[in-house]
């Protein structure tokens, strides 16, 4: 419990730092938030000055930061420069779609990577093992968006197995339709993780297989497969959990391009749109929420690590 508390305690200053950096990055913008209006012949200089005053852009930077932080804590997160709605509302609309896409990709990746990793480790050096190694190199090397395009081309355009893009058909609202639209982008997003996790599991399994308790497990008379799954896999999964946590930023990267390719109405797509529209307040909000989700993911991985391996939990408590 104390371990969990100390890990959570570390996340708070990190989040504060994230907010400062996000704010600083956005204030590097040439021209600031009113650039959109500068190109509009219908908006005069005095009007821009009025907008600047109304938005408080003439105040000292620290004052602006504190005001923004207050709005973050109070829950409005500033207002979109495009439609004037609170940023939190705009972002919150998109969070479920992205979380759905990411968790599905995550689930698919685990469901495929774990059996592949076990198979490769069990048949080490076999033709299958070599084929999987080779395939994972290619899966890694493919740009996510290009794999998405190719998947669209082959599976959706030619074979009509999946819809090309979008989150559901215009007239349908049933969950099956959603799943149908979800599978292809989730698979595309998860491909890199399948490759890296199955490789990682393979090598960590091979390491575990050489240890004495595995010999004991086999000496107890159960089948080799049983020993592998019950004793080997359990121990080999521990380091994999950390890798999964560290993979979260990649998943975000992937989400931006995957959502763009598949017109998936999530945060990545919103980010892309707000970049095009120079909607700084939405960009800032997304930056903060993405960083917060990554920090939360790493935290979850840390906690899972502690739960799986008592030595880590106890070690940290003793050190504290």
């Amino acid at each position: 419990m104390r371990y969990a508390a100390s890990r959570i305690g570390q996340a708070v200053p990190l989040l504060l730092l994230v907010s400062i950096v996000s704010f600083a990055v956005m204030h590097l913008a040439p021209g600031g938030p009113t650039t959109v209006y500068a190109h509009n012949p219908l908006v005069s200089g005095t009007q821009i000055a009025a907008i600047r005053r109304a938005m408080g852009l003439d105040d000292p930077i620290p004052v602006q930061y504190v005001r923004w932080l207050t709005s973050l804590l109070q829950g409005s997160w500033g207002y979109s420069l495009v439609d004037g709605r609170p940023v939190l509302t705009v972002v919150a609309e998109r969070v479920p779609a992205t979380l759905l896409l990411m968790t599905t990709a995550f689930a698919i990746a685990i469901a495929i990577a774990v059996p592949l990793g076990v198979l490769a480790a069990a048949r080490r050096g076999s033709r299958l093992d070599h084929a999987l190694t080779f395939a994972s190199f290619f899966a890694w090397a493919m740009p996510v968006f290009w794999f998405g395009l190719m998947a669209q081309f082959v599976l959706a355009v030619h074979l009509h197995l999946f819809p090309v893009a979008g989150i559901h058909a215009t007239d349908a609202d049933d969950p099956l339709d959603l799943v149908h639209h979800l599978l292809l982008p989730a698979l595309v997003l998860g491909l890199g993780s399948i490759a890296s996790w199955s490789r990682y599991l393979r090598s960590s399994l091979l390491e575990v297989l050489g240890q004495a308790f595995m010999t004991t497990a086999r000496a107890k008379g159960g089948s080799a497969a049983r020993a592998l799954v019950r004793h080997g896999l359990r121990n080999a999964m521990i380091p994999l959990v950390t890798v999964m946590g560290l993979d979260l930023p990649n998943l975000f990267t992937g989400a931006v391009v995957t959502e763009t390719v598949f017109a998936w109405p999530g945060m990545g797509r919103l980010f892309y749109d707000s970049l095009a529209a120079r909607d700084y307040s939405v960009e800032m909000g997304l930056l903060v929420i993405a960083a917060a989700l990554i920090i939360a993911g790493n935290l979850a991985a840390d906690l899972a690590y502690g739960a799986l391996d008592p030595r880590i939990r106890l070690g940290a408590e003793r050190a504290a």
């Binding site: 730092l17 994230v18 290619f138 890694w140 740009p143 968006f145 990267t253 892309y272």
Partner: protein, 294 residues
């Protein structure tokens, strides 16, 4: 301070270095896929370097009679949506994409190696602080920041290289720090100190060279990573300027022609995939070849 004449030291040292290099090369050679990969990479680099002389057309030349056309004698890989020769743009695109990958990885190394070396060597609070900063940067959604920075400055290829380098050094810094941390307690460092060497000299002459093997691997793999991110930035329209032929840019508009001219999307993606696979194979073989315990 005792100083040994350089000539006397050079002989055996050079010899040892030569055998080590020899052994590394021997081990690398046995890695069949990596040899093939190195060959393919050399070929890609050569084709890219020779692009101005071997490409059949000018990269910006427009053939108004052939818009997004299928391959024919004049255009072996067809034309794009503006009637430009795809093969020509692929060759020229290789220049940009390969150079961006290598350039970004070198910048990452230039930042990451000294950063990690100083953190590992100094240790203590400075180390904690520096590594916390690395943790923090790693927790940041790099692509979001990259996209924002790129959207501020619709800049040049150089901008993209710089941004990718500035956001790619953290892994290398961690690696070098770990290496230096374990090396600095060794006897040869103590010996160097006893000879009166300054910290800086110990770091530059003894620690960094000894930590170099895994760094070479990491930088090699970094080239592949940078190429992939560059391609994604280009595809989203925030990478190198849109009229510059890069493999990523060639894919930007390809989506719209997926049904009529699929080659537009297939060819550049294959180039990226092949280049990245080859770089990764070479990096992997280097890891095995440079590993002194292997």
């Amino acid at each position: 301070m005792i100083s040994l004449p350089a000539e006397e030291m050079a002989g055996p040292g050079e010899l040892r270095e030569a055998t080590a290099r020899r052994r590394t090369w021997d081990r690398f050679r046995t890695h069949r896929p990596a040899l093939v990969a190195a060959g393919v990479l050399a070929l890609l680099a050569l084709l890219a370097a020779l692009a101005p002389w071997i490409s059949p057309h000018q990269p910006g030349a427009i053939d108004l009679h052939r818009i997004a056309a299928a391959p024919d004698r004049a255009h072996p890989l067809g034309t794009d949506e503006l009637g430009r020769d795809v093969l020509t743009r692929l060759l020229w695109g290789g220049r940009v994409s390969l150079a961006v990958g290598v350039g970004a990885a070198l910048i990452s190394a230039a930042i990451g190696i000294p950063y990690g070396a100083i953190a590992g060597f100094r240790g203590g609070q400075l180390d904690t602080l520096m590594m916390r900063a690395v943790d923090f940067l790693l927790a940041f959604p790099a692509v979001f920041v990259l996209l924002i920075l790129a959207s501020f400055s619709r800049g040049t290829v150089l901008h993209v290289v710089l941004y990718l380098g500035l956001f790619g050094w953290m892994g290398i810094a961690r690696l070098v720090r770990g290496q230096v941390l374990s090396l600095r307690e060794r006897d040869f460092v103590l010996a160097a100190r006893a000879l009166g060497m300054s910290d800086r000299r110990i770091l530059v002459r003894h620690l960094v060279p000894n930590a170099v093997a895994p760094v070479i691997v990491a930088v090699t793999l970094g080239v592949a990573g940078a190429m992939l991110v560059e391609a994604a930035l280009d595809f989203l329209g925030f990478g190198v300027p849109p009229d510059t032929p890069s493999w990523g840019n060639l894919l930007t508009n390809a989506e719209a022609y997926l049904t009529t001219a699929p080659l537009l999307a297939i060819a550049p993606g294959l180039c990226i995939t092949i280049a990245v696979v080859c770089v990764n194979f070479v990096g992997d073989a280097l890891r095995d070849a440079l590993d002194p315990t292997g």
